[in-house]
């Protein structure tokens, strides 16, 4: 096998771009007056092609989630441009589904009703919405937990409900913010494989934020590394050309995986050191 990974130039334009972030700067007002605003990210150029799986990796507090929120339309950038399928984004991104880091299920709805809610509010009759929700819960392996409320489910099960809740609306873009962060190693592997399986069936554009480099390489087509904040920017991009379909556990044993990991880690390590030096703690 030849070279499976190559560092690609920053901001490479791709045909059929699903998400375009260009010259993005996002600043938050300071908690006290007379202080300058806090700039989370600055000068970020990023494109996600249709059907492409892009993972963003970076140290804690570098503004990875901020980027996702801008792509989702939940945050208005201070400068720069957000375009979705070539059109400037105004308001919420209606073509994207967002899987949040924290628990985001409606606690007063059962697993079934949580998955069905996206269809219900779109005007699908309740009976049909429920039937389709049942199908999705079956696909994420929760057919036996339809009537459970979120607090009765484990962390991994809640994430699977969240995944079904997002995917049932068939979004063209999938934004994921450290979705498997709080889960244990085995559950993460299971969730990663589940995600790849579902993604393989209907190739959405995915923007996946994680602090776990191994997870990023195992899942993505392209890994984007962000520098330490404030005013964080993208400091490197690597194409991952490991063959698909992949198995999360097995792909980690490939020599190419290790070569790529070492390569990216040497860049990431310096950024982590910077974060540490600022006393912001571990990844």
């Amino acid at each position: 096998m030849g070279v499976v990974a190559a560092q690609v130039p920053l901001g490479t334009a791709l045909t059929g771009s699903a998400v375009t972030l260009a010259g993005l700067r996002i600043a938050f007002p300071a908690p006290r007056r007379r202080e300058p605003p806090f700039t989370a990210v600055d000068g970020v150029d990023l494109e996600v092609a249709t059907g492409e799986f892009v993972a963003i990796v970076g140290p804690t507090g570098c503004g990875k989630s901020t980027l996702l929120n801008a792509a989702a339309g939940l945050l208005v950038p201070s400068a720069g441009r957000v375009a979705i399928f070539g059109e400037p984004l105004a308001g919420l991104n209606r073509r994207a589904g967002y899987l949040f880091q924290a628990d985001a299920l409606l606690p007063w709805r059962t697993a079934l009703d949580n998955v069905a809610v996206g269809l219900e509010v779109a005007g699908v009759p309740t009976g049909e919405a429920r039937a389709r929700a049942r199908g999705w819960l079956d696909r994420v392996g929760l057919a036996a937990f339809l009537q459970r409320y979120p607090h009765m489910l484990s962390g991994g099960q809640r994430k699977r409900v969240g995944l079904a809740q997002v995917l049932i609306r068939d979004p063209e873009i999938l934004l994921m913010d450290e979705p498997f962060g709080p889960l244990d190693a085995l559950t993460r592997q299971f969730m990663g494989n589940l995600l790849l399986e579902l993604w393989g069936a209907a190739r959405k554009a995915v923007l996946f934020v994680t602090h776990d480099l191994e997870e990023a390489i195992a899942l993505a087509d392209r890994v984007v590394i962000m520098g330490a904040g404030p005013a964080a920017r993208i400091i490197g991009e690597w194409r991952v050309e490991l063959p698909r379909p992949r198995d999360i556990a097995e792909v980690r044993l490939e020599p190419d995986f290790h070569r790529l990991y070492r390569d990216i880690w040497s860049t990431l390590r310096d950024e982590v050191a910077k974060t540490y030096a600022r006393g912001e703690g571990p990844l």
Partner: protein, 269 residues
């Protein structure tokens, strides 16, 4: 703890207290121990006796006079509760969604809530007469603020992640109100409902006590006027049982509507 055991312990507390009251008000301390004369530890003139109180209560129910007064108090309580709760929910929602309105009215709401309600009772009697409406008004001023503050808080404290998720799932503002804000506020409303029901009753009884011609508060006031301690205690006994029954009703509704909550949170302190 199992249910029968809990029930047994609860009954035991009542039995012990009533037994102490009974002994204290019927057995004299012999002369020369605490004073020259033989005296009751609890003088029946001031404390009555459990038997006299039960007998009075039984007679009131047997003759049927109490039903009318109970009905009047119940009607006032229910009206005060419903009007106060509906008003609190509507205005609480309005304030939580309209920041300007909330900011403008904030000091007035706080001032109105800090006012001792007893001083309002004569004003309400003057405005609304001695019938049930002056009592309902007093109860409303108590219930409204409890429900209002809880709805306001409930709407304000919706988890931002849940809200963002609901938005991303395509909910419009109206759908957010129905599917996110309302269920979230409901948990707060219910946590305040037990207090609110109690206050509705307090408003009704205090109103009756200060000036009326019917109701449990009126009965207690009448009994006090002639130093009829058994009558006063009997009125209090009926009130206490009445409150427990209403509270059990609220708990039953709460358990049905808030089935989704984790058990540890659902258990009231």
């Amino acid at each position: 703890m199992t249910r029968p055991k809990l029930l047994a312990l609860r009954v035991a507390v009542a039995v012990v207290l009533i037994a102490m009251w009974h002994v204290g008000s019927t057995v004299r301390i012999p002369a020369g121990v605490v004073s020259a004369k033989a005296v009751f530890p609890l003088d029946p003139f001031f404390f009555s006796t459990p038997l006299a109180v039960f007998e009075r209560t039984w007679r009131d129910f047997a003759s049927g006079v109490i039903w009318y007064h109970l009905g009047v108090t119940l009607l006032e309580t229910v009206l005060a509760f419903v009007i106060g709760a509906v008003g609190g929910v509507l205005i609480g929602f309005w304030f939580a969604r309209q920041h300007t309105v909330a900011a403008v009215f904030d000091p007035y709401v706080k001032a109105a809530n800090a006012l001792p309600r007893v001083v309002l009772a004569p004003i309400f009697a003057l405005w609304l007469g001695l019938g049930i409406w002056s009592k309902v008004a007093l109860g409303v001023t108590l219930v409204f603020f409890i429900v209002f503050f809880n709805v306001y808080q409930g709407v304000k404290e919706v988890s931002p992640t849940v809200l963002a998720n609901a938005r991303m799932l395509g909910m419009s503002e109206r759908q957010l109100l129905r599917h996110v804000y309302w269920p979230s506020a409901l948990t707060w409303v219910f946590s305040s409902l037990h207090t609110a029901v109690g206050f509705a009753l307090v408003g009704a009884v205090v109103g009756e006590y200060l000036g009326s011609a019917a109701g449990l508060g009126y009965r207690i006031q009448q009994a006090e006027g002639v130093f009829d301690v058994a009558g006063v205690f009997s009125g209090m006994l009926v009130l206490a049982v009445f409150v427990i029954l209403i509270d059990a009703g609220v708990s039953a509704i709460e358990n049905r509507l808030l089935a989704w909550r984790p058990a540890a949170v659902a258990e009231r302190p």
